[in-house]
């Protein structure tokens, strides 16, 4: 079934030089386990393609049921170089929650509205 990532997760983002990090925290162990298999750095790179000029790296934090994505060169320069309204990637966390994903029907009890 098609749902928004925000139905199974929360997020926070911030800047690291020219890069942004987008942390995604899943609401349940089941949703996290699904994400480790299916939420790839390639999908995130594609989703943020208007901004990301470099690679997207993905890290797993099993203890926090979280994935951490590094969006390389995604701010149009470092903090003070950038001409973007959101020069520090503060809003990218909110953006990823609106990403449409194909979530298995059998896990629908883990979807929050």
């Amino acid at each position: 079934m098609k749902i928004k990532l925000g139905s199974i997760a929360s997020s926070r983002s911030g800047d690291k030089g020219k890069n942004t990090n987008v942390g995604v925290i899943f609401n349940s162990q089941e949703a996290y386990d699904w994400s480790k298999k299916y939420l790839s750095s390639l999908m995130v790179k594609e989703y943020f393609s208007d901004f990301v000029k470099g690679d997207v790296l993905r890290y797993e934090l099993d203890n926090l049921l979280s994935l951490n994505f590094i969006l390389e060169d995604s701010l149009g320069g470092g903090g003070s170089d950038s001409l973007l309204n959101d020069a520090q990637g503060k809003t990218y966390g909110q953006a990823i929650l609106l990403m449409e994903i194909d979530f298995p029907n059998k896990l629908k009890e883990y979807i929050n509205e």
Binding site: G23, I25, D50, N63
Partner: protein, 448 residues
């Protein structure tokens, strides 16, 4: 040795709430209050202030905070740990002393040795490469444009200051989590090979260094929080073995739970298995986070390993000028009009013979933050057009600022919101992250 040490943060950045540190001082049930005033750009501003006047170059707000609350700080026996000294901690300390009712009331421990701006040529000549960590470029590219250079020094300088009896530790560029780790080194006498304990203290500092971002600020499920108006700033209660709780003053708003802390742990995170601080490398995937369901969480079993042989250096340099201007465009077809206005705007600058190294057009209220990611045009009644340029030529950037107001009378109808005059050309300060051998950095503490 204390059985527990309570450390609060009342300032996540220069510009954070002015009441938060005052409230924590009055609350009183803390041993240490940490205050973070320094962002990278802040230091270059301070260096510029110091060049104009050798008595300046620190966070002036901090002087007022201490002077205005000196009785409560003493009464509640709170020690203050801060990086407010910027590039001139000695003058900051003197300014505080000058305004105290009784000059001997506070011993101020001034930390020196992080600011290498005046010695950068000598260091380059003696073989420090200062190669750009991100791009690998050579420092010669920016050598004559450097505006500040500071080493992220380790937290033992804070311990040294406390050992010497400081009531206020006034540093410049210590690491942000080091403001919390420093007093723990002093209280618990942790050694530089107690990696797990150092990692615990660093994680505790990381969680509280952005103030209320761990107590309900920026929280994804903001709609679940009863109230945010009187948001409480965070306190960590740390045990000698390094395990700690995160809490906030009783009766304050906000929320502390597994999610609020997890979100902040992830904030500005790189590789979570290798978070490099001057003191230790921390494995952020190692620990257990326990939600006590009473607006506190407990963190246990943080793992760390040996620090690197280098300190990070933050060098800033002048890299040109930029400017941004905004107009509000209202009425039917607001987006279509805004796009048209931007077209004629850039056309006119081109006709006048101006092109720029970098320019940008954004539609606030439409897609400035998320572009096509969430592209569902709702037929909004108004849009803010934001126009920006960056260039090495100041005159060109100033010319850009003069082209905006004519649009009010020479474009389509319904344009307003041009307040505050022509946007000015601002200097752009860029950053050059690099490393320096730990061996050649010397930090000292002076008690004033």
């Amino acid at each position: 040795m204390k059985e527990i040490v309570k450390i609060a943060n009342g300032q996540g950045f220069w510009g954070d709430s002015i009441d938060a540190p005052v409230n924590l001082i009055k609350y009183g049930k803390i041993d240490y209050l940490t205050l973070d005033y320094l962002a990278e750009v802040t230091i270059s501003i301070m260096q510029k202030q110091k060049l104009k006047n050798p008595l300046f170059g620190y966070a002036k707000d901090f002087v007022d905070l201490i002077v205005n609350n000196q009785d409560d700080i003493r009464k509640n026996n709170i020690k203050i740990i801060t990086n407010a000294g910027g590039v001139n901690p000695v003058e900051c300390a003197k300014a505080i002393k000058l305004k105290l009712k009784n000059k001997s009331d506070f011993k101020i421990g001034v930390v020196k040795g992080d600011d290498i701006y005046n010695n950068i040529d000598g260091l380059i000549n003696s073989g420090q490469s200062f190669r750009n960590l991100e791009t690998g470029e050579d420092i010669s590219l920016i050598r004559n444009k450097i505006t500040s250079a500071n080493v992220y020094i380790d937290s033992y300088c804070i311990k040294d200051a406390l050992d010497k009896g400081a009531d206020i530790v006034l540093a410049g560029r210590v690491s942000d989590p080091g403001l919390t780790l420093g007093p723990l080194l002093y209280e618990f006498d942790w050694k530089n090979n107690d990696f797990n304990k150092l990692a615990s203290g660093t994680l505790a500092g990381h969680i509280i260094e952005c103030g209320a971002q761990c107590t309900g600020g920026n929280y994804s499920k903001w709609y679940d929080i009863e109230n945010l108006s009187n948001i409480g700033y965070p306190i960590v209660e740390v045990y000698p073995d390094g395990n700690f709780n995160v809490t906030k003053p009783k009766g304050t708003d906000g929320i502390i739970n597994k999610l609020s802390i997890s979100e902040q742990v992830l904030y500005e995170m790189g590789d979570p298995k290798n978070y490099i601080s001057p003191d230790v490398c921390v494995d952020f995937t190692s620990f257990n986070l326990i939600d006590n369901n009473d607006n506190t969480v407990s963190i246990k079993n943080v793992k760390g390993f040996k620090a690197t042989d280098t300190y990070k250096v933050s060098i800033s340099y002048f890299s040109g000028y930029k400017s941004s201007g905004q107009l509000t465009i209202s009425g039917p077809h607001a987006y279509k009009k805004a796009k048209y206005v931007s077209k004629i705007f850039w056309d006119r600058l081109k006709l006048a013979g101006y092109d720029f190294n970098n320019k940008n057009t954004e539609f606030l209220g439409f897609d400035s933050c998320h572009k096509k990611m969430n592209h569902k045009y709702s037929g909004s009644n108004e849009i803010v057009l934001r126009l920006s340029v960056k260039d090495s030529d100041k005159q060109k950037v100033e010319r850009f600022g003069k082209e905006i107001s004519p649009l009010i009378t020479t474009g389509p109808p319904g344009i307003t919101g041009f307040a505050g005059g022509r946007p000015k050309a601002q200097e752009v300060i860029s950053f050059w992250p690099s490393l320096i051998d730990k061996k050649i950095v010397n930090t000292t503490v002076e008690i004033l």
